[in-house]
Symmetry: C2
Subunit: 228 residues, 2 copies
C-alpha cells in the first residue's frame, strides 16, 4: 500500500452505507483509506496476506493468476463500485490471485478485522454481501464453464459481450488491454485471438482500429457465443 497516496475517507464513500448505522459507518471510516494507483501498478500479488477488504472507487482493475512462463490467466475485470475479488478474502488468509490497475484507479481499503466486526453486528449488511457474493460467483462460474466448453469464435464472442454488457455498457469502446491480455481473458493465445478478431472484422461483425472496437452486430455475436 502506498501511504503517500492516501486521502481522507468521507462517509459517502463507504459501500452500501445505507445499510449501516452511523456508528458502524464511523468504525469503518476510521479504519479505511483510499489509495491511488497508476496504470499497470500492482495492487496486490497472489500469496501475500489479506489484511484489507478492497473496494474499487474509480478506474479499472484486472484480477489474474500468474502461471509459469508468464502465462497468466485473467479471471475478470473489476469496474468501480465493486468489491475486489468478490470479497473472497473471507475464505482465505492469503490472496489466491493478483490484481493490477489497467488505468488510473482509486481503491478504498477497509481493515478486515473491523469489517468483520461490523458484519457480525449487522446481519442485514452481511446478508447483502452474501447476496452480492453469490450473484458474482454464479456469474463468474457460468462464464468460466462456458468459456471452457467453447471454441475460438465462441470464446471471442463471449469476450466481446463481456465488454459490451458488463464492462463498458456500450457497443463501442476502447480497451485498456493488450492483445495478449485479451487472450488471457478469453482463454486462448494471442495469435488465435488476433486471427479471430480479424475474421470478425472481415465479416463486418465488428470494426476494429487498434484498441478501439465497435460491435456492429450484437445479434451475430450473441449467436456465436451461444453456438460455441
Amino acid at each position: 500500500m502506498k501511504s503517500n497516496n492516501q486521502q481522507a475517507v468521507s462517509s459517502g464513500l463507504i459501500p452500501y452505507a445505507e445499510y449501516l448505522t452511523t456508528e458502524q459507518i464511523g468504525l469503518i471510516r476510521n479504519s479505511s483509506n483510499i489509495v491511488k494507483y497508476s496504470t499497470k501498478d500492482t495492487i496486490f500479488k497472489q500469496n501475500t496476506r489479506t489484511s484489507h477488504i478492497m473496494f474499487v472507487k474509480s478506474g479499472l482493475v484486472k484480477i489474474y493468476k500468474e502461471g509459469k512462463d508468464q502465462k497468466n490467466i485473467i479471471y475478470k475485470l473489476v469496474t468501480p463500485d465493486h468489491y475486489l475479488g468478490n470479497i473472497s478474502v473471507f475464505g482465505e488468509d492469503t490472496f489466491r490471485y493478483s490484481a493490477a490497475a489497467l488505468k488510473e484507479t482509486e481503491i478504498l481499503f477497509i481493515d478486515i478485522t473491523i469489517f468483520k466486526q461490523v458484519l457480525e453486528l449487522n446481519g442485514r449488511y452481511a446478508t447483502l454481501l452474501l447476496e452480492l457474493l453469490s450473484h458474482d460467483n454464479l456469474y463468474m462460474f457460468d462464464k468460466i464453464i462456458a468459456q471452457n466448453q467453447q471454441q475460438l469464435p465462441g470464446k471471442v464472442a463471449e469476450l466481446l459481450l463481456y465488454f459490451v454488457n458488463t464492462i463498458f455498457n456500450s457497443d463501442e469502446f476502447e480497451i485498456p488491454l493488450s492483445r495478449t491480455e485479451l487472450a488471457e481473458l478469453a482463454g486462448t493465445t494471442k495469435e488465435s485471438l488476433i486471427r479471430t478478431l480479424t475474421e470478425f472484422k472481415n465479416d463486418k461483425i465488428i470494426d476494429i482500429d487498434g484498441k478501439k472496437i465497435k460491435v456492429n452486430s450484437i445479434d451475430i455475436i450473441t449467436k456465436l457465443s451461444k453456438l460455441g
Copy 2:
C-alpha cells in the same frame, strides 16, 4: 419435493446450530423438512425457482449443467454436511444448474425466507456462511481454472485427486458414476477419459476394476496434476 418421504427435523440436524440461539433454531426447524432421494433421482432442475436452502445430510449429489445434445457438465459432487450449490441460491431466484442423487440421499430443506430472516438477525451466522461460501468458491474457481488449462493426463489426475482428497478421503474407492459422468466431471469425453485411465492402469499408477479404483501412487498423480 416428495412430501411422502418427509420426516421430522430434530434440532441436532440444523447446520452449524452452535451459532444460533434456541429461538433461531426453532424458527429454522419449523420451516424445515428432510426429503429422501433414491439413486438417479433429480433433486432440482435448472431454471426452476429457488424456494429452499438445501443441506446434504447423507448420500452423494452431483451438481451439473445440462447442455444441448445431452452434453452435460458436472460442476462438482456434494458430500454430507455441505450446503447444496454453495448456498448460491442467494444470488438468483432460479437455479442455474441441476442436481441429482448419485446414491440414497437425504436432503434437509430450509425455507429460504425464514433462513434469510435468521441471517439478518444473526450477523455471526451470516458471516460464517460468508466465509464458507468464499472458501468454497475459491476452491471451485481454482479447480475449474486449473482444469481448463490442463490437458488430458492432468485433468484425469486432478479428477482422481478430487476423489481421494475431497470426496472419499481414501485412496481406494468405488465411484457411483458412469464413465460418461466421470468425463463430464473431468472436462473431457468418455473415450479420452477411458483411454487415460487405461494408460494410468498400464503404468501401474492405479488399479481399476469396473467402478472400483485404487490409487497406488498419489505422488505420481499429484505430479501429473501439477504438470498439467
